[in-house]
């Protein structure tokens, strides 16, 4: 009410105000007004008047200060081109002036940046080393290949799980809190006290350890909590981080701090304890929090998946490996079983060492080759190492085989081993072989309880018998009443001679003596009995003479005149014949001595 009342009352200087605000009616009136208002000073304010440098220099500092306080942006904008060209000119004139001025700033800044870069590198190297052999690393290597990034980069990206719990913006000079953001899950102490305490600690460290100006405490580590402090000229950014944050975050903090310095240059400079001016800096700080949340979120979401995939892969690999191992083991066991069933092979020891199989055992020289058996399995020869010692197997099959090998019997001989380990030899064989086998068996029947050669028939005996039968069946026929051999009978006589010669030869080879060879002469009953008796004798003698001529020893040939008393049938030419009979020598093999049991 008061205000409205004062507003309605006409002010005393009403007319003057009106005069200055309304457009001038004439040039003369305007001049008059100026003279009334400014008096003698009017001359110096005229735009046409030369302004004295001294007068301006008196008020320049104050004017700039006031202008800065009221229209800071305008003045700054106006000054930019001048300042820029001033710097340019300074550099062109003498570069040393500026570089000397900037040196204290550039030095620490460069050092800081290099140190940060080295820290980044070390961290990434450590991470890479730590994870290069973990199960996940295979997945990461794949990811690195797929995305064309370095393995170290992928490891860094995937392993860092951390949370920025609190971000404090602190006024550097006073240590007062300007603004803060806290993540939802985090519990925080009174931020006003925390920021003051952090400032005190900073001061304490700086004072106590004689830190060069420009250096400051930038990390506090307590267990898994890290406090990262980023100091600017006016403000300090402190981040409470739980977990293992990447050095990139440091870069982000620096950027945020720079942005805040730019946006709040004048409130920071003129800070008198009023926090409200920094209310909008929450956005910057929140950005710091948000970015970290995202990383953490990913980490949380993907970790179980990663773990599951990793476990799955591991299980699959393990399964495949176990499967292969089991299969190889089964194949090996089957091979061992086969070896154990094979006569003449004895497995003494077998084991699995790493991926390889080892075996030692005994092998009969006659046994099946273990290598040949191995070739039939799916096992690879390089997987298997075998050592075989030779031995003699007493297995029946081997005893028989061994005797077969030793005796080398002719095809006509059969060897049989009965369950009582008695070797039975049967069939025909040359006497020489029969004698050889008997001698060999007598020397010591390896693996035999006894042996029997009774069923062995000497081959020569059979030959002699066959010749005997052949000779004795033939007859040499004569003409009636004559000692002349009938036409065509000469061949029979020849054959008889040859067969007899063979008998003689066989006997001689065996060192035997042939018994008597009887040439029996016959005649038919026609004519005188006495004449016939003589005729039969003459016929026998004829054959005798013929055989002697063929080389049969005379002393062995005996004649016998049987006259007409041995008729076959009447008128049978057989009644006029000479037949031959032989006494064969008794053929005996060496009497064997059975081996001692």
């Amino acid at each position: 009410m008061d205000n409205s009342k004062t507003g309605s009352l006409p002010p005393p200087e009403d007319q003057i105000v009106e005069a200055t605000m309304s457009p001038p009616t004439s040039q003369a009136g305007m001049s008059e007004l100026r003279r009334l208002l400014f008096g003698e000073k009017l001359e110096s304010l005229k735009p046409t008047t030369t302004v004295k440098a001294e007068a301006v220099s008196e008020v320049l500092a104050e004017a700039i200060a006031q202008s800065h306080a009221q229209y800071s942006k305008k003045l700054t904008q106006a000054a930019v081109p001048t300042v820029e060209s001033a710097i340019q000119t300074s550099v062109e004139t003498d570069i040393n002036v500026l570089s000397e001025a900037l040196f204290p700033i550039i030095g620490p800044a460069t050092r800081k940046s290099v140190a940060a870069a080295i820290r980044n590198l070390t961290q990434s190297f450590n991470q890479g080393l730590e994870h290069s052999l973990s199960p996940q690393s295979f997945k990461w290597r794949w990811e690195a290949r797929r995305t064309g990034r370095s393995f170290a980069e992928v490891v860094l990206l995937r392993t860092l799980v951390y949370q920025v719990e609190q971000v404090l913006l602190i006024h550097k000079e006073t240590g007062l809190l300007l603004q803060q953001v806290v993540s939802e899950q985090a519990q925080s102490q009174d931020p006003d006290l925390v920021s003051a305490m952090l400032t005190a600690i900073q001061d304490f460290v700086q004072d106590s350890f004689n830190v060069q100006s420009g250096g400051s405490l930038d990390t506090l580590e307590v267990g898994e909590v890290n406090i990262w402090i980023e100091a600017g000229p006016q403000a300090v950014l402190a981040c409470v981080i739980r977990g293992n944050a990447p050095q990139e975050l440091r870069g982000q903090l620096q950027t945020t701090l720079e942005q805040i310095h730019r946006a709040y240059a004048s409130p920071l400079k003129d800070f008198e304890g009023d926090q409200e001016a920094f209310g909008s800096s929450q956005t910057y700080l929140q950005d710091c929090l948000k970015a970290q949340f995202k990383t953490r979120g990913n980490g949380q979401k993907q970790r179980p998946t990663k773990l599951l995939i990793g476990l799955g892969c591991l299980t699959l690999l393990l399964g495949a490996w176990l499967g292969l191992r089991i299969k190889a083991g089964q194949q090996w066991q089957a091979y061992i079983n086969q070896l154990e069933q094979e006569p003449g092979l004895v497995v003494i020891q077998q084991k699995r060492q790493g991926g390889k199989f080892k075996l030692s055992g005994l092998q009969d020289p006659l046994a099946q080759s273990p290598d040949a058996l191995l070739a039939q399995t799916k096992l690879k020869p390089e997987q298997v190492t075998m050592r075989w010692e030779p031995y003699l197997s007493l297995d029946d099959a081997f005893t028989l085989k061994r005797w077969e090998a030793w005796l080398e019997p002719p095809d006509s001989v059969t060897l049989k081993l009965d369950p009582d380990q008695v070797l039975h030899l049967s069939g025909t064989a040359p006497v020489s072989w029969i004698n050889f086998s008997q001698r060999l068996l007598a020397k010591g029947g390896e693996g035999l309880r006894d042996w029997n050669t009774e069923a062995l028939i000497p081959q020569e005996q059979q030959q002699l018998k066959a010749l005997q039968e052949q000779i004795e069946q033939r007859s040499i026929l004569f003409s009636q009443g004559s000692t002349n051999i009938e036409a065509g009978q000469q061949a029979t006589l020849q054959a008889q001679g040859e067969d007899l010669a063979e008998v003689m030869a066989i006997a001689q080879a065996l060192d035997l003596e042939v018994g008597r060879i009887t040439l029996a002469g016959y005649s038919d009953p026609k004519g005188d009995r006495k004449d016939n008796q003589d005729l039969s004798q003459a016929r026998a003698t004829t054959v005798q003479q013929a055989l002697i001529q063929q080389g049969i020893p005379a002393p062995l040939l005996q004649t016998q005149a049987l006259g007409e008393n041995h008729q076959t049938t009447p008128e049978n030419p057989q009644n006029r014949r000479v037949s031959i009979s032989i006494e064969l020598p008794e053929l005996e093999t060496q009497s064997p001595t059975p081996p001692a049991p």
Binding site: A65, T174, L176, D190, L193, I201, F204, Q206, G273
Partner: protein
Amino acid sequence: MIQKKVCMVGSFATGKTSLVARFVKGIYSDKYQTTIGVKIDKKVVETGPQPMTLVLWDIYGEDEFQNIRMSYLRGAAGYFLVVDGTRRETLDIAIQLQAKVEAHIGPVPFIVMLNKCDLEENWEVTPGDIDDLQAKGWTVLKSSAKENVAVETAFSKLAEQMSRPQSNSIPWEAA
């Protein structure tokens, strides 16, 4: 909310910490004070046009050399000079400290706290001394942390002084 940094300055055992303890309830234990030489507390004062948060830096006092960490005073908007009334030398030290502080951070409001007024009969600081201080234009208050005398008043008064526009707010006038 307006915040101000306030420091407690004074010799050893003058009662700085007790005054703060009487005034606030802080979160940090006293051991910080001996560890890094400062203990920090906070109190909201409801005097003046709007409430003000005082962040109190209780600086560890050393008798022999008075070499308190001046860096802790940086940015302070005001401070208390705490004197033990029963020990005359603490007043002398306070006067020296005031000069040091002012040289370091400039002319900011401060209040001299003549503490332990519950033992006034044993005081070595005389009324004459007090007059001398007041003659310099200093604000002097007799206080007792033990009996809670003038504690609230002192902090309110300093808060009020700090909320006034500072004479050094325009740089060229100060220079």
